[in-house]
Symmetry: D5
Subunit: 144 residues, 10 copies
């Protein structure tokens, strides 16, 4: 345990978040997400919900201010405009972060393709449908 760092974040995930630079992306995947097949670096957060995980990550991670959308969810298959309740929870977390912006949506396989290129994938224990989120790291302009 360390001061100032959310207890949910493992030492390895902490290292990954610190290694990420401007524009690098991290995926928060739900319990059924194919993280090991897609991810370049995989971190397990079994038993933790996607929203808890995202909240802990956003406590440390700046969101990108250079792009239109710095967060993406996976579009509901067969209903591109549907909004499962977890979308609103994700948006609330992003709204409380440093560069709030509307979360964009990606078709299922486009989401997978982006996950494949992401810096890391976090596999949570989220059981709600469409509990997946991609976050794009921003910059910090002065030394903490």
């Amino acid at each position: 345990m360390l001061h100032h760092i959310p207890a949910l974040l493992s030492p390895e995930l902490l290292k990954t978040l610190a290694e990420m630079g401007h524009g690098d992306e991290i995926v928060v995947g739900d319990a059924n997400f194919p993280a090991h097949a897609l991810g370049q670096r995989v971190h397990r957060m079994d038993g933790i919900s996607a929203t808890e995980a995202a909240k802990a990550i956003l406590h440390l991670l700046p969101l990108d201010s250079f792009v239109e959308a710095n967060a993406h969810v996976m579009q509901v298959v067969g209903d591109a405009t549907a909004s499962p309740p977890i979308f609103a929870e994700f948006q609330a977390l992003v709204d409380a972060a440093d560069n709030p912006a509307p979360i964009a949506r990606l078709e299922r396989f486009a989401f997978y393709e982006r996950a494949r290129k992401a810096f890391a994938v976090v596999q949570t224990g989220e059981f709600r449908l469409y509990g997946n989120l991609i976050l794009t790291k921003g910059v910090i302009g002065a030394a903490p």
Copy 2:
């Protein structure tokens, strides 16, 4: 996710539990336990309490019936007879398992020494004091 397997257990921890044999031990350590310094194999369960972790493990792991005590806690420093509330929770989990027996106590450094020889250490996010438990694996007498 798999049928019949508690969602809290990571793939790596599942492999460790399956590799353990008769008499091998696993430590459930609290959030401040020096798992990486002591453990031969370390599994992280950040954000999960020691009792949730122990419950998930005991769903799969048979307890040893060849020894007097198949579970040990760390004795309170300076008060060997004290019983923090989590001791009773641990005992209830053991009582619900296949070979219930009274949990024994080990002095702090004897506990550390035993952890060093254990098959594995699980680092949980448990914040309650003395949230540490050692479990000894038993045998299964017929093919599942």
Copy 3:
């Protein structure tokens, strides 16, 4: 040995099954299948038949409900409509699983190509001809 887990599954194979996510595939190959040449991850089950292996795997693995066919066999070379007896045994195992569906057939080299992309290949000791099966993992909608 662990409670609730089929004794045929090695610790490494257990880890692989747990790491697989929605849409990932696992191949059960017969004794002559070129598993080491094709497989990204190879698990040996020497001495175990393909049907025993498939049964143990399906005890834990949910089948995909998002696709038309969640299981595939290798089509008999030169006789695409032939049905060796083991095909019926495979179908019976799938019928007893959570998302039963008719098993589809793949031409020999298409089967190999799919095996190359699969998450893992299990090499069994199956001596019957065409004792090969590909299973597609599905989702689990609530925490076990």
Copy 4:
């Protein structure tokens, strides 16, 4: 699959048997044997009985003719003269091998200590009690 080689033996186990020299030992452990904690090299034979495993190994492995006992079982705890039925099956396998000799017995922890020094440990799926056997490799006096 190869001609002349028992189908139960995995490629890795075959390599281990071939690497062993005069006096090196291999342990056939039952389903609850702590193979991963004790063994320098561990081979899994989940789902295979200890007698099937021993028979396949003895098809290739010469037994040592320089020592009084070239095979050892684990003595029943608390009853050093008891002979579980599997002891006779092991003896029959040794009797059918090239240097038959009476199997000797080792007290449980002496057996563990010897397993720790052995060249390799094979973890079988044997569920019968005391299904453990140590074999000592002998010499072959002419090129096959």
Copy 5:
């Protein structure tokens, strides 16, 4: 040393032969063959002739019965119909194996390309010209 296994085969080569499946190929290269540049897995047999090596391998390896040619030599450069004496020796070894067939010929660089895709390359100490052979593994239809 093991019963039933040719003494020329190293433990590692034994493992490779056992890992190969239907259709996988192994190259027996002569003393000047660029094995380390081309081979995915390389086994050294310094001091052993290509015919001795091939004979030992064919004692264990079934040849493929699904293809027209299950063995290939390298065509003499500049004289595609020439037959160095070692070709007849190779043919005699194949004729004595389980699925005898006429050995086919490959132009030098086609031979190299096929070696690059082969499962393994064995570098022998063969000094005769064109002492190179590719063998294709077949199936075994019943448990040894």
Copy 6:
């Protein structure tokens, strides 16, 4: 860069600090400290002073409240009571931390011996004499 985390700490060092548990120790060594010869895990902070490094570490690391001294410096060789100015700077940093206590002193080779057992060693670019400090990690009693 991350919010709330001192910019001086590398991702690897962050991971190390998070992996440390109660009672584990970290050494801050000066530019001439034999870190690679003594340290189990070595982190470089070339160009950073020992006091800057210690300050950044203490921003995250709780000091141990279970021991008399949770920080140690290396005693001046030949003058056990001497106090180079950097000792006072180290003391000021400890005084500003969560469990302030007087820093204890260790003879040079006792310091080396303790460094050898420490969880990690940080090699700074500190040029001042006796710019070495050992910190003992404490516990955090509630989830951040």
Copy 7:
């Protein structure tokens, strides 16, 4: 610490600089640069500015005299002619080196692409905007 070598350079970075040959490039990235995502070899210099890092590197590294530009900065996004103050500092360092030449500019993603092919990336703690520099190594014509 060594004579003649800037104290800022870690042993690993020293090795990298020495391994580089004619035409190889090294990137000095600022605190937000995605070094771990792009770099083939990454060196951390947390807490050190890009100009301090570049100065230490140029103390050892010869600049290329065979190319028009042996140093490149990242062009300001949206204003290709803008010159942040750090550009002049970089130019002054290059001017003081052995083969001074005007620093060229690369569009942001062209800069990333070049970083991906570079021999190494140094991640500094530089907080000023556009604190990124690519240096091309030259030749040394006589033994030091």
Copy 8:
């Protein structure tokens, strides 16, 4: 040190030369050659001239007799017909070898491309310009 083997050749380089087969190539690069960026296997010979290195290598390595040119130098940039003195020294070494032939020339970047495909690159301490040489290995027709 060994009998019959030039003292300049390291154990690793000796292994590389022995692993090379017919048609494989080795590059002798000068002190500024980008060996680590281009080479599949890199051997350092710091402090040794390219001609000393080539002489030691040619003492063991047969040159190819199947190709027109079994040695190549890098053409002088901007003057394809120029012949720096070291070219004549290289030619004298080749003339004294087993299959002497005129050394051919490659344009600088064609030389780099060929080095990238070579079996190995030797980085010498040669300071003379254009002190680079590629050698193609030939065959040995009888056992030494």
Copy 9:
């Protein structure tokens, strides 16, 4: 293949012989020698006799002139003065080497203990009894 180097020696063995220094020892073991259990580095020479192997090694390896015995055989068990014919063959090889001396004898387990400390063990295919030899490397006084 290389000029001047016996064809029996693999690239890896060549490297080992070159890495050995004054006083380092290499064991030539027979087909039943427990090389993998005892040896720090093991080289296979399956199919090659111990005398062929020793001859090839002694072509390159200088014998030690600083010790009374620079070669040792394993004493016949139960008959310390017996001299199997292979002893005379070994002696003839040593007599033909640079520092000939009478070969000394070691009791079986003393021989094993020395093999455990040796630099390397070569496992040959020697089938004759007591075909084991330890050679001690000497010095070479001038550059080859």
Copy 10:
């Protein structure tokens, strides 16, 4: 090649010298020194004399001023007072360094024992007898 750094030093050796701290030792061994058997880290300098190697190393490495002797040679076997000419050359190199002191002598096996504990061993191509030297690193008191 780099400015200010002797061309004889390889990138790996440079890294080793930079990693060494106060009191760490490096051995310069002659061509017959058993470097690979004794050394924790071994660097090859084939073809370079011990005095050239020592001179290049001492250009960068400060000698220890805290000990009576910061350099040791190996005493002539059988004549502890003999002084081979290379001893004087070593002394001259030390005299020209920053903390000159008389070189001490160690009996052969004491020298070996110290080499075993040293940070690294450099194997040179030195053919003169007793061309071995151990150097002890000192401190640098101000940033270069």
